[in-house]
């Protein structure tokens, strides 16, 4: 049975939301344009109603899509491609935004919510602001409209309510069976099955959505020629936006740090960059909005930056969703054929904003007098300029694939590729912008609060300067002593270290002063301290991240190629081999790889593979024994339990010099959607993280066994097993087989073969020969530690000799990479401080706005 009705309802809601937003935009537009007060009010009431209808329709779309995913209606392409029956309920919400349509929907949803909040908090600006909101919603709804215009045969948008047969009409199955329903979905990418992916996308999209508010106010200000009064209501929202977008970006970084194996939280991937650039510009805009009262020159800049922020959000959307990044990014969306529509969306608002700005430019009040170097505005301007240059550098390099397309569009050939080593390339510039931001934030804050004049300059700035210099040398001394990093190897790092410390000291001193007066004003100082801490955290954790898994095994590398032997001698061997149950040394630790583990869905600890048998093509396993964890019995033998079959965890013991053992479980994921993916395990300490991941696990695939070799040996005979010396130690009678006692007519003998492994470590293989109910059984016994499979094949009572059939294989091992990330906690702590600072600033600015609004300004 196809559930076609529900999809039709969903599609109807989409069309309704589209039409309602169109009507609302038109109504609000009329309300701004008319001068008649009564007419204004009536248009406003009408459009407000239309916007509420739009909001209700959006909720309707979301409910319908959620129902389709939740109820596993796999006749719908969206449910089929983004979810599956195996998906735990708490991740179903993530299916929503895995696809483009769903993430557009999330964006539309936030705009609808924010629009309703604005309608109810600011009547004065309602009409022009909501006209912009409505227009944006029209464009966004058109992305999921999924309507084909007749006559010109133009498809507008891609609906999330497409049936399988509509989305993939070429499949042969439709000819035979038009109402075919797939049994199961393709599933949510297992890499996204992570709690961060439940909260990161909504946060990021709320961040994107909130950038619309200052933009809408700015346009409204230009439109109604109220050139400066828009800033007061827009400022708290700009701060909210910077907070939410910033937190969303950091969340994404933390997810990447925990889940992906590129070794860090930021990879300068175009998708990451595209969300970071609008944030930088937004922060610059906020600074200009704060100083416009004292310096009207900042007003024009505020306009430009607020508009740029919003347009850059649209540009980032275009980059991520149009498929233009192609090979340049690992995580952009697949192309839905919306690039044209996205381009029109971006260009429309860019065009409207620029035209309006040009028309009104002359009327915007501005200050022509020279800004004094001893004024606070000057230093804040410098800070904002640094932020803009920083964002300019990032976007200029991120847009390389766009230049190729433009040049190709003009009929030439361009084969520019992204910088080969993105982190080094970007850091080279961004390091200096970081220095600038830290220094200017310190000086700017001092000027802001201390009324510094030419004569008092040294009095105010000399002490922090000297103190910072001293602390910088202390920091260098201790980091060198603790062997965290060698500052003299890269002297530029000293400058960033100094800048960060200087910023913390100056802002800290100001914070102390403000706290004595009115702590509510200290948001700025707190935020800047947070930023400086983050910069220092990034400096240490990335600048001095150190690979500690150095291969000291002493094996000669490729001796075939002379050109390479000389290079290879210099090459860092940055991965270690860990043999199963064989301790080996790495940096300050002794490592022991203890084997693969299975992840149960409802268990506190991992399972030993011998405890369960996985059911193929399913997410369940059968317990082979009672499963008891942390003193509680979870399952009895024979029970079925849910597992994550795609995840393999490798248990590794890290024993430090004091003998303390930490067990880490780096993960390896057999990811059908995007290829296998290793995820790191982190050992957190106050001084930093030890970041480890399995670079290669060769035994993931079927083991390859050697040809069977037959041995006939007597007791205490020695022979060679997989290149190791082995001794048949004893053969004795046993009374049980496979855990069950044997019957009166049955018999079993078990051999003990002792093997001298690597470094003279002893291992045992115990093959068994069984006669049960008249039948002979000789099960193959495996030992992964030495890579041997043995069968007890024969007993010859006459000669006293025993026969064994042996196969050998590669011993079980993994290849591990481990990286030290010193002082990374400074980055996360700085983030928290930044959040606190932003929240304080938001509260302050919102109070100011409310006070003035209620007074009728």
């Amino acid at each position: 049975m196809l559930h076609t009705t529900i999809g039709n309802i969903g599609h109807l809601f989409i069309i309704l939301s589209f039409v309602a937003s169109l009507i609302s935009t038109f109504g609000y537009f009329k309300s701004v344009q008319t001068t008649d007060l009564l007419e204004q009010a009536s248009w406003k009431r009408f459009s407000r109603f239309a916007f509420y209808i739009h909001g209700a329709a959006v909720i309707g779309i979301i409910s319908v899509l959620y129902t389709i995913i939740y109820k596993h209606y796999f006749e719908y392409h969206y449910a089929w491609s983004h979810s599956s029956k195996a998906l735990p309920v708490y991740y179903i919400i993530s299916c929503f935004w895995e696809g483009q349509e769903g993430s557009f929907l999330l964006w539309i949803f936030w705009h609808a919510v924010l629009g309703i909040v604005l309608i109810n908090t600011n009547k004065h600006w309602e009409a022009p602001v909501m006209a912009i909101f409505g227009a944006v919603q029209v464009f966004l709804c058109s992305m999921i409209l999924g309507v084909v215009l007749p006559v010109i045969d133009l498809k507008i948008g891609s609906s999330p309510f497409l049936l399988m047969r509509e989305a993939m009409p070429d499949l042969p199955v439709w000819a035979m069976k038009p109402d075919f329903v797939p049994e199961d979905g393709n599933g949510l990418n297992p890499l996204l099955q992570n709690y961060w992916m439940v909260i990161h996308p909504p946060t990021l999209f709320l961040g994107f959505a909130t950038t619309l508010i200052p933009f809408a106010y700015a346009i409204a200000g230009l439109w109604r020629k109220e050139f400066s009064s828009w800033i007061r209501p827009a400022l708290p929202w700009a701060l909210v936006s910077a907070l939410v977008l910033g937190v969303g970006i950091i969340m994404g970084g933390y997810w990447a740090y925990e889940t992906l194996n590129f070794g860090g939280y930021w990879n300068w991937d175009p998708v990451e960059n595209a969300s970071f650039v609008p944030w930088l510009v937004l922060v610059a805009a906020i600074h200009c909005m704060i100083i416009y009262k004292n310096n009207e020159a900042a007003l024009r800049t505020s306009y430009i930056l607020v508009i740029a922020t919003f347009v850059l959000v649209l540009y980032s959307t275009f980059l991520n969703r149009s498929g233009i990044l192609g090979e340049a990014s690992v995580h952009s969306f697949t192309d839905l054929g919306l690039s044209g529509q996205l381009l029109i969306y971006m260009l429309f608002f860019l065009f409207v904003a620029i035209v309006l700005l040009v028309i009104r430019w002359k009327d915007i009040p501005s200050d022509e007098k020279e800004v004094s170097t001893y004024s606070r505005e000057f230093w804040i301007f410098m800070g904002a300029t640094t932020l803009c240059l920083s964002s300019f550098q990032i976007i200029a390099a991120t847009s390389l694939p766009v230049y190729n397309k433009i040049v190709e569009g003009l009929g030439f050939v361009s084969k520019l590729a992204p910088p080969a080593d993105a982190p080094t390339y970007y850091s080279k510039f961004q390091l200096w912008f970081g220095v600038g931001i830290a220094i200017f934030s310190g000086i700017g804050q001092s000027f802001w609060w201390r009324k510094i004049k030419k004569e008092t300059l040294s009095k105010h700035l000399l002490t922090p300067l000297l103190l910072s210099l001293i602390l910088t040398f202390v920091a260098i001394f201790f980091t060198t002593k603790a062997q965290v990093g060698d500052f003299f190897g890269t002297p530029t790092y000293i400058i960033l270290l100094f800048a960060g410390i200087f910023s913390i000291i100056t802002n800290g001193a100001i914070l102390l002063d403000i706290f004595k007066g009115n702590y509510k004003l200290s948001g700025g100082a707190v935020t800047h301290i947070g930023v400086a801490m983050m910069l220092l955290g990034i400096l240490f954790s990335s600048g001095y991240s150190k690979v500690v898994s150095i291969n000291n095994s002493g094996f000669a590398i490729s001796e075939k190629d002379e050109a390479f032997t000389k290079d290879n001698d210099k090459e860092n061997k940055e991965n270690v081999i860990l043999w199963l149950n064989t301790p080996s040394e790495m940096s300050d630790y002794t490592l022991t790889y203890k084997g693969v583990r299975v992840e149960g869905r409802e268990l506190p600890e991992y399972l030993h593979p011998k405890q369960v048998e996985l059911i193929e093509n399913d997410f369940h396993a059968v317990a082979l024994e009672d499963i008891v964890q942390q003193g509680k019995k979870y399952y009895s033998a024979g029970d079925t339990l849910p597992v994550f079959p795609e995840n393999k965890f490798y248990e590794i013991d890290f024993r430090d010099k004091e003998g303390k053992i930490t067990t880490l479980f780096p993960r390896f994921q057999i990811n059908k959607k995007m290829g296998n993916a290793p995820s790191p395990a982190l050992k957190h300490t106050i001084g930093g993280d030890l970041y480890t991941y399995v670079a290669l696990a060769p035994n993931l695939e079927e083991k390859e066994w050697s040809k069977t070799e037959n041995f006939t040996v007597a007791l205490k005979d020695t022979f060679f097993l997989n290149d190791y010396v082995a001794v048949l130690d004893q053969v004795k009678r046993v009374d049980t087989y496979e855990g069950k006692p044997l019957g009166p007519n049955d018999a079993a003998v078990q051999a003990t073969i002792k093997v001298m492994g690597k470094d003279f470590r002893p291992y045992e293989v115990n093959p068994i020969f069984v006669i049960k109910e008249g039948l002979v059984a000789m099960p193959a016994i495996e030992n992964d530690e030495i890579g041997v499979r043995a069968k007890f094949t024969n007993i010859d009572p006459k000669t006293g000799q025993f026969g064994f059939a042996i196969n050998t294989t590669q011993r079980d091992f993994i290849i591990l990479k481990a990286i030290q990330k010193p002082l990374i906690n400074l980055l996360w702590l700085g983030t928290l401080v930044l959040i606190v600072g932003f929240v304080m600033a938001i509260i302050r600015r919102y109070r100011e706005f409310k006070l003035m609004r209620d007074k009728g300004f």
Binding site: M168, L416, E571, N575, G675, L700
Partner: protein
């Protein structure tokens, strides 16, 4: 000249420097012959080469050398670029797990003598969405109870 003008000029200078560096430091997509010529002229810039692994008729990878027990950080393979030229590539890191499945790959590095020294490998794995090759079973009718 006013101070703001000087600052403005400095900003423009930085912006121009950024643009120039973006243009000059960007890598390029090339084939092996170009990479070889670059190496001969002493150009040490890293380049991107798009190509396919050398495979036999049955799809087995040919001439791939990887012996993790000897050295886990040494991989050699043959890549065929879009012009059909075969080239030995050396990668001093563990073998990417999915290498065999990749239909196309991008290697980043430069030529060094007779071999291409590769610093980074990007794999393009066939996606389930492409080619209309969809594997799925039909839902069984639910039992009436």
């Amino acid at each position: 000249m006013k101070k703001t003008h000087i600052i403005g000029l400095i900003i423009i200078a930085i912006a121009v420097a950024i643009l120039v560096s973006t243009g000059t430091e960007a890598s390029t997509y090339v084939d092996f012959s170009v990479a070889e010529n670059m190496a001969k002229t002493g150009d040490k810039d890293q380049v991107h080469v798009v190509g396919k692994l050398k495979k036999d008729a049955t799809g087995n990878i040919q001439d791939l050398v990887y012996n993790p027990t000897l050295d886990a950080n040494h991989l050699e393979f043959m890549l065929i670029d879009n012009n059909g030229r075969e080239q030995k590539v050396v990668y001093n890191a563990p073998k990417p797990q999915d290498m065999g499945r990749a239909e196309q790959m991008v290697i980043i590095g430069n030529m060094d003598g007779n071999v291409f020294k590769c610093e980074k490998i990007l794999l393009k794995c066939p996606s389930k969405y492409q080619d209309g090759k969809v594997e799925f079973k039909e839902a069984k009718p639910e039992k009436q109870s």
